[in-house]
Structure formats: C-alpha cells, structure tokens
Symmetry: C2
Subunit: 341 residues, 2 copies
C-alpha cells in the first residue's frame, strides 16, 4: 500500500492535512493527459466528451466519500470556494446572525466576513448555546485544523448547518447528508491534485447561484435575463477543471483501500500514544487523524524535523505543531517523528 | 517558432480562441513540477516560497500583457471568475442597470444575470445609446467570441466599464488601464495551462471583496469580523493555483516573440483573404485574430476538417464556423483549411 506513494520512500510524510501524498497512479494519469494536451491539443469532440465524463466520474466518487447522491455534489476547487458559494448564495443581511467557532480556517472565515452578517463566535462547546432567533446559519468545521478535535456538528436542530469538511472528508467516515452544506478538499486526505474539491448541497433548489459558471446552466436567455440551472448541485460547479486534474483525481480516489478509515484511526492512535509520553497533546483521544501538541518553538521544531525528512507543520499564531496520520502512515514514520531532537 | 509547439507538427491548429497550443517548454515545466510533487511531496518552506514567487512572476508577466502595473492584477482561474468578482463586488440592486451586448459569452452573461441588475441589451453599435442615469456598469467583450469583431469598448465615458478580454489579451495589444475592469483568459491566446487567467482592476480599493480567498488577506480578526485586504488587486486573487500551472504559465509567457501581435495580424489577414473567396465572412477587415464565416452545416464542417487534422470550431445556435489565427499560424495551415471539402 505504501508503494503506491513515492513520497513515502524517503519521507516520514505527516502533513496530509495540508496536502496528501500523490500516488504514482495519480501522477501517471496527469502526465498521460498532459502528453495528450501537448501533442494533440486541448481540442475535439472526444476531448470534451472525455472531460465531461471525467467530471461525472469524480462527482460520483466524491459523492461516495461523502455518503451522498451524486446529484447533491458540486465540483469546486477548494473548501474556500465551497464556503463562498454557500455564504454568497444565502444573501444574508446585516441583522442576520451566523454562529461559528473560534477555531475556523480563513477559508470559512473569509466567506463569513464577506457575507456582512453578524458573527456570533464561541468555543466549539459553546456553539449550541449561541443559536438564537436571528441565526440563519451555523458554520463550523467537522474536525478542527488547529486542535484536531471534532466539533459538535450534530448538535444543531432547526437551523441550517454548513460544515467545513476539509479535515474530515477522506480522513473519517462522513455522512454529508446530515448537514445542509458540506465542503470537501480533495487535495488533502483524498490525495487528489491541487485545487480539487466539492460541495455537497442537500437542497440545491433552495440556494441562489451567486457566481455561475458555464457548467451551472442547462440553457440561458440573455434577453429574458434568465438561465435555467442544471439539475441538482451541478449548478454550483465553479468552472473548468483541468482534464489532467480530473484524470488524476479519478485515479487518486481509486487508490484508497476499503479499510482506509480503520487503518488511519489506528495509525493516529499509535501516534498519540508515542507523543503523549513526550509532549502535551491538545487533541483528545479518538478524534480524527490530526494530532496537535504544544511546543515552545513550533517553527523551529518543524524545521529540525524537515532536515530529517519528517514532514509536519506548525499552526501560525499558536504554540502548536500538527501531525497528520493517514492509512499509509507506518510505525517507522512515527518513530522518526518521536525521535525528534 | 513553430517548433516550440508540438501540436503544430501534425495539426493545422486553428482554435486558440478555445485553448491555445501548449508549448514544449510549458508542458516541460509542468512535468518537472509534477515530478517534484510526486517524489518530494507538496510541502516545505521552499516549496511554498517558490509557489508564492511564481505567483508574483506570472502576475508581473500578465500585467505586462495588459499594459498595467502588477499591483492592479488579480490572479484568477478564468474570465468567468473575473466577471463574477466584479459583478458580485459591485453589489448591484434591482433598479440598477447594466448595459451589455447581444454577443456575449455565458462567462459574462451568468455574472450579469446573477447580479440581479436590470440588463439593457443591444447590438454592439447600439450600446453607447443605451447608457442612462441608472447605468452602473457597461459590460462587453473587447473582441466578440461569435463574430470576431471588435466592440466599441472605448465609446463610454463617465460610467464604469468591464471588458471581457478573453478573445483579446495575447491576441492584440491591450491597454487594460483604459477600463475599470479587464479580464484575461490565459489558456487561450497566451497558451497557458487550463484554468489560468487574471483580472485587472483599476481601483482595487473601490470594489468589495465578495468571495475572499486565503490570498485576499494580509491579516484577519475573527472576533472583530474583519480582515485587512492585501494591497492592490491581489486581494481579489481567487485561491490556490497548482504550482505546476504557475510554472507552466510562466514558461508559456516567455515563449511569445516580441512581434507576436504583428505576426498574428498578418496570419489573420492571409486567412481572411483565402476564405473571402470561398465563404461569406462576418468578421470585418482588421479586427483581431478570429475569423468567423457562415456555413449551412457548421458542426458537419468542423467534423470533416477534424478528420483532416484541421482544428476549428462552430458557434452553437448560429450558422458560424470560427477560425483562430495565432502568430504560429503559417500558410500551410491556412491552405489546409481552405482546401476543405
């Protein structure tokens, strides 16, 4: 299984929370497409039909990851874009409120600020208490990119919920249909090419299309000032995805074994045990696949580890170092981490 | 010069209005980056610094293409995205009016419809007469993707103008600073990788950031519900661009010769002469680098030409076939086109 990922030959690669490792099959699919693009041009009926078929192929595979029907999945380039689609589409007003946590990534925060709505911010455990009559949305991560802890995504009833699934989809089992909106970053735990992702929308008809792309429309009538949206969430597709990226993502999604979540959980558990003896963890037991711990010089430690080809990251403006464990992580990787100077 | 583009060995490639040919140097830069991504991972300080440096590198080169300062250039993935940035950022109301032409692409039309503003639509020559006291924006192509004719982009005073430069930037000399907003599609005439482009914004401070990305902010304060935008148009940067795409675009922009516009104009002229003897042209003389002509079966002709490796396209819902001439187009390409059955 590790042989699928060339980067693991040399590196203790523990940073899938930023970018997953690229499988040989993924890079190969991208190279093959690039060779076609170069020698035959990005042209022709077959070329565009193949591109469209690949879009539906990856839509189906991402839907399976999220436990949702493909009709509820929009193809995006990032979680940031997914959050912007939702917040812009809701067309909030200044006296609308959005409840969110103090552990969110700018990918969500930016969209919240741009919405113009009033933000009610709290620690994850405080969020259910912040919901009130003016709450138009609860927006929070499934798994915190800072602490690695799960947030109480299922604690809300009667109010729309947007879940930032960047650190969850591909890392832990996900049922996106339990939420109104769920974002997927495919370049992280799903090991896809850069700038790939998805947004699951439970009721596509109920959200305005704030930033249409060519893929959003079935037909349009300029003189009427209208367009007929595609059926389902495809209306939120955000634009052209390079054919090589689609081919690479399709290949990437085929690499993951059926027991990927169990294996990833078990690697994370081992990582936790090893680190708990040495450092103060902020990640509670049995969360997802991130482990964050305190350190007096996070960037320094990250750099010293990088010199030994052990790849982790620090979380800016905190005293935290974050370790990402995947199903591909083995004991040797973790021992190299634990042996840090 | 033609040797730079492998696709020209076999094809009379006359479709840069959709996708430009990919230079060997462009594909090579992408392959090299992909090899790094695969073997060493998308990680490390140097990796991110290189990515950021490449962003500024391509920003500078795209700025040069548009005759603008780099500070006025946002990196986007498409003209569609550029149009959405502008229309969403203007926050138009239902009684605001936008003047636009009846020859626009959905990349612009979608954003116009989503804005909710009232659309005043006319033939290109009618547009100056449609501007009135409620006009908040004139939005039109520099060069029509349908007819290949130039639109009267310089005929407007005292009203903001958004120019869709998809069929102009890289094809003809452009001074984007003559307009409030100017979109660039880098994958067409600039021969860049898929999903690359830019938006030139003359007064970045005066447009709201409707869909922020991580690259939009210099700093943020969630509890205040604010973020400090990057200086200049970089605040409109729309998100992560794959490092391979940045490297490829940088290489692509280095390939174009200094006399590319003269050469492209001359190839287009020759194309026009050859076709004028055989078909009815809708493109006037001395426009840009597209030539459109009437045909009783456009898709059929496109297919028959494709069988002979001559690549052109039809324009849906019209009786038009469109030919794209670049500085790389030679007489042999045009003769293969003119010899069509």
């Amino acid at each position: 299984m590790r042989e699928a990922y060339p980067v693991l030959e040399r590196f203790a690669y523990l940073n899938a929370g930023t970018f997953g490792p690229l499988a040989k099959a993924t890079a190969e699919a991208m190279r093959d497409q690039l060779a076609v693009d170069e020698a035959e041009g990005r042209q022709g009926k077959q070329y565009f039909e193949r591109m469209l078929a690949l879009r539906e192929d990856v839509r189906g595979k991402l839907a399976a990851v999220a436990g949702a029907a493909p009709e509820l999945v929009a193809l995006t380039s990032s979680t940031t874009e997914g959050c912007n689609i939702v917040l812009a589409g809701l067309r909030l007003e200044h006296d609308d409120e959005v409840v969110t946590s103090d552990e969110e990534h700018f990918g969500l925060i930016g969209a919240l600020i741009a919405s113009g709505a009033r933000l009610r911010i709290g620690r994850p455990d405080e969020l259910p208490g912040l919901v009130g009559p003016r709450t138009r949305l609860v927006a929070l991560s499934h798994v915190s990119w800072v602490t690695g802890n799960r947030l109480p995504v299922e604690a809300f009833e009667g109010v729309p919920v947007l879940v930032d699934g960047a650190q969850a989809a591909g890392a832990i089992p996900v049922d996106a249909t339990a939420f109104d909106y769920y974002t997927i970053s495919a370049q992280k735990w799903l090991c896809g090419p850069d700038a790939t992702g998805a947004l699951v929308v439970r009721e596509p008809d109920s959200l305005a299309i704030a930033a249409p792309s060519y893929f959003s429309q079935e037909a349009y009538d300029l003189s009427e000032g209208t367009f007929e949206p595609k059926a389902g969430a495809a209306r939120f597709d955000t634009g052209w995805i390079p054919t090589a990226s689609l081919a690479g993502l399709s290949a990437a999604l085929d690499v993951h074994p059926a027991d990927c979540y169990e294996r990833a959980a078990s690697a994370t558990s081992r990582c936790r045990e090893l680190l708990a003896e040495r450092v103060e963890l902020v990640t509670r037991p049995d969360q997802a696949t991130l482990i964050s711990f305190r350190h007096d010089d996070p960037p320094g430690l990250v750099e010293r580890l990088a010199e030994r080809d052990v790849i982790v990251r620090d979380i800016p403006k905190t005293d935290l170092v974050r370790v990402s464990c995947g199903y591909w992580t083995n004991d040797a990787d973790l021992e190299r981490l634990a042996a840090a100077p």
